[in-house]
């Protein structure tokens, strides 16, 4: 803001808070900022709100543009989706696959990240992290071949393994930057006091890393819940996850919009609720390693 002059700002009181708490000069800027923020929030929320509205409309109301906002809400879409299409099974499948793949990836990934952080295993880390770059399709053909020969396609094991392919590198990446920031002195003094290195890791480092592990775990759960491509190829009728179930919704001749929106809401709501309660962790996980070299 060009109008912001030196005298104005130097007169502003210095707040002691660590983040900048200086009022930003002009009234024009303040108004602009409020308007811009409202616009941003509307832009981000409105489509989700629209989806929610449509999920409570009958298909007749969805086709009637006069009833965009004023209509008689109906729960029929949800009843249809949940009962007739057995979404409870898909919800369970999604949850189970995400939960197990996250848990196993944490068991494998946390110690690995620790070793890679403490012993500077740059090249090994590179191999694990490569997985984040590889297009998933290039792994699917060989997987499909091997697992269909083993008669495992359509089982939970394959899905869980494939989701670990996403989860493990993510967890290693987040935990490495977490361990890098954890002071070494604590472990050293624990070892001076008589703990073995593994003991120090178990009794000192791990308890200190709970928030890092939570971060990695939550993000990996979300990514697994949202994963579509692997489940599309590797899941069977009994192990179908929610994203694939929604996709199947539209392969019929005409789209049942109300049901589709109800299904889409059913998938997104659980993950959004988790996100609301774990906001802090998600943000720190997504930005892990972004601000340092």
């Amino acid at each position: 803001m060009t109008v912001l002059t030196q005298s104005q700002t130097s007169a502003a009181p210095q707040a002691p808070a660590p983040r900048r708490r200086k009022p930003l000069g002009t009234r024009a800027y303040k108004v602009f900022r409020v308007v811009a923020l409202v616009a941003v929030v509307l832009f981000l929320i409105a489509p989700l709100f629209w989806m929610l509205l449509a999920s409570f409309k009958t298909n007749v109301d969805i086709y009637d543009t006069a009833k965009s906002f004023i209509f008689t809400p109906t729960g029929e879409n949800y009843a249809n989706v949940l009962q007739r299409n057995n979404y409870f099974i898909f919800i369970f499948n999604s949850f189970w696959v995400a939960f197990v793949s996250t848990a196993l990836s944490l068991v494998l990934g946390v110690p690995a990240a620790y070793a890679m952080s403490r012993f500077t295993m740059g090249r090994s880390a590179l191999v694990v992290l490569m997985a984040r770059v590889i297009p998933g399709v290039s792994l699917l053909v060989p997987w499909y071949y091997v697992f269909s020969n083993l008669k495992m396609v359509g089982g939970f094991e394959v899905l869980i393994l494939s989701h670990m392919f996403v989860a493990l590198p993510l967890i290693v990446y987040i935990m490495m930057s977490y361990f890098d920031s954890l002071p070494l002195e604590l472990e050293e003094s624990a070892q001076v006091d008589g703990l073995t290195p593994i003991g120090a890791f178990r009794r000192i480092t791990l308890p200190l890393s709970v928030s890092g592990i939570a971060t990695a775990g939550i993000l990996s759960f979300i990514f697994s819940w949202n994963n579509f491509m692997f489940a599309l190829v590797l899941s069977g009728s009994k192990t179908k996850t929610l994203p694939v179930a929604i996709f199947d919704f539209v392969s019929y001749a005409s789209i049942d919009w109300g049901g589709l929106m109800a299904a889409a809401t059913v998938v997104t709501i659980p993950i959004m609720i988790i996100a609301l309660f774990t906001q802090k962790y998600i943000v720190s996980g997504l930005t892990a390693g972004a601000t340092k070299g």
Binding site: L4, Y145, K292
Partner: protein
Amino acid sequence: MSVLNTSRGDTRRGAGRGAARPPVPRKSFSAWANRHRKWLFAAPAMIFVGVLIVFPLAWTLYLSLTDSQGSVRAATEFIGLENYVTVLSDVERFWPAVGRTLSFTGVALACEVVLGMGIALLLWRPFRGEKWVRVAILLPLVATPVAVGMMWRLIFDPNIGFVNQLLGMIGIPPQPWLSGQDTALGTTIFMDIWQWTPMVVLILLAGLTSLSEEPDEAARMDGANAFQRFFFITLPLMMPTVIVAILLRGIDALKTFDILYATKGKGGGSFHEVETLNVYAYGLSFDYNQYGLSSAVLILFFMIIIGTMWLLTMRKKAVSK
């Protein structure tokens, strides 16, 4: 990302091992475990990655040199680089897909970084209601991409969609959006921007809050206005973070699959309007069972990703100096 990490922590080399030798452990297994904990810790994950990733990748490389098709179990013949020749001379599907992949990624990234920087600057200094704005930013980010695709399908529907309804109110004729041959790719780019700008915002905001105040303060004292301070102080200091954001987002944008497949289905629509390399390779593999060809496409795609990453990492090194 991987490339970012290789140099990290060099200063710690050996510190963990040398600083404090453990008191001689009694049990020999625990002594052995402690001595070899580096590999004991890392090996399970490395083996997992080796079996599930390196081996399939090697297989894909092998398949790309054969005429494998129909069924992976069918007998295949080694045909050298023929698949690559076929793919690289394919101007109907392959090259347009390369073009779409690059323009999708380029346009989406550019918009996301500019918008993301703007929003991050808006959020930089605290304000009342900040909490709610942050929640709003998080929601698109965690929403299931397939569900998001379906949501936009309804909103952009040419007949009943809310967007055309809105345009109608200000007298603009309805647009075909996703069903138009020329507008489909742009519409999917818009969806990507909606979903992933928040990610860029979060990364840039983390960068902004970690900036030291002095340079900005000094420029202020020297009478620089807000624009000057942003373009000559904040932006140059933020460049490494901006490039990290581009790197992280770019890799995922190149590989975008879910929203494209959810909105346009097989082959990226009947005219392949949104067929990017990933969608093309998926179709070749699982709709047409052309494993040899699809593997060649994937290897080329992989090289494009690695190349882009390498360029960005070089750029980051240059900027960080």
